[in-house]
Amino acid sequence: MTDQTADLPAVADATPPSSRPRRTFTHSVAFRRSAVLLLLAFLWQSAADWAANPLLLPSFTQTMAALCDAILHEHLLTAIVASLGVLLKGYLIALALAVVLVSLAIANIFLREALLTLTAMFNPLPAIALLPLAMLWFGLGEMSLIFVLVHSVMWPFALATFTGFQSVPEAHRLVGRNYGLTGPRYVAHILIPSALPSIISGLKIGWAFAWRTLIAAELVFGVSSSQGGLGWFIFRNRNELFTDKVFAGLVSVILIGLVVEFGLFRVLENATVRRWGTQG
């Protein structure tokens, strides 16, 4: 006789979670989203046909034609690349500065107060409101744009990242310390992955602020004297009453926003926080 069978580790609770039932295309998110976009395009076209005044409201098809024309003959893509280049510079500088700020804030309680106070002061201040001052300091050019971009990205990103580090669960901290992790290894292996939901959310907020700020700033002047950006393209065409091209510019702004949201941030989230189930 033996009672060993009762000693086997219970595997009854070791069943992996069931996989989701397969979905048909008509139930997919992509289908619903495409349907919404098609409906919007249809409504736009109908409204434009009804208004029958392309100078005020060009139709969807006219706008698409203008978009193709602008890409082929007016270097719209070059303008977009110029805008994105400036944006990327400002964004990366802001991220680097924010990382320094947050590191200091974590290391020292006085600097922590300083970061929180500065964030509270500068977060409600629209970056575009600093443009006149930036133009005074740095003149009409890329430097002024980068200055307002950094301002628009740095504070919200620093705040989100700092909050993320502050809210790392005690259990994760203890596990990391239990393994004897300290300093950079502790930050890299425990704090950053644990705070990643907040960090990604900060990256998204920063991107949205930067993109809006840049387009708004470019409406005032181009990226540089020779090569205007996307905002400048919109402004220039409004002055010449090429309303269809203005719409084409706006559509470009929206499309780039969507591509970054779904092509970049969504992919990043799906590979990390959504997969781990740690998204807030």
């Binding site: 009672d3 009762a6 000693d7 086997l8 580790p9 219970a10 595997v11 609770d13 070791a14 069943t15 992996p16 979670p17 669960p169 005690e170 259990a171 994760h172 203890l174 596990v175 310390r177 239990n178 393994y179 004897g180 992790l181 290894r185 292996h189 425990i190 992955p193 644990s194 990643l196 990390t272 997969r275 781990w276 189930g277 740690t278």
Partner: protein, 267 residues
Amino acid sequence: MKPAPTSSHPGVTVLEARRLTLDYVTETGSVRAVEDVSFTVAKGERLVLLGPSGCGKSTILKAIAGFIRPTEGHVFLEGQAVSKPGPDRLVVFQEFDQLLPWKTVRENVAFPLTVARGKSKGEARRIADQALAKVGLTRALDAYPRELSGGMKQRAAIARALAAAPDVLLMDEPFAALDALTRTALQNDLLDLANDLNFTLVFVTHAIEEAVLLGTRLHLLSAHPGRTLATFDTTRFGRDSVGTPAFRDIVRNINMTLFGGATGAAA
């Protein structure tokens, strides 16, 4: 017949707490959690720190782990005074989120092996798979913690601690948040693992039956602050003795010691 349970080996002391006094720092000041508590743990022994809430048993475990510094006294591991946390004293916590959610079950177990034990990735993976097989989680190797039940998470956490082969295993009420059936299953599995691997364990709990079942020796603590009340040798009690008169006697005895004769207060 089962092989005789491993009894304590008085010669080989792995861990010693010598005259530990621990203070708990709060916003309003410091509170004495533990006062002048001493004990030793021999190799292969399973010491249970048992007491009501507020007796500082978890605080003692934190001091052994090196998370907090004793106000007075020392913790010695293999004769060396403990000054900071380290992988030679791995902790299984009560919280389910002790598994890192960004790692799969296998990665969670392999992680301390590579990062703290200097094993290669392949070696760590092999040891992790073995440890997970021992706790019955072979089917969940590539699952993320969010996909596991509470019991599976605690199994994985135990496998993670076992895989790194610490000098002493520390457990802080690891089964307290589980339902009764899962808890019983995990208690039995832990006993099997102890008989199989003969690890040294310090286990914190407030459940008397659990303490008698799992421990080879119990260290009873009073509350506010935690002081040593008594010690009990429970080597002879195993799974087969649950519910026997001798088991009920010692549970009653412990209850009297903890609560001064008040009956029916045991958890």
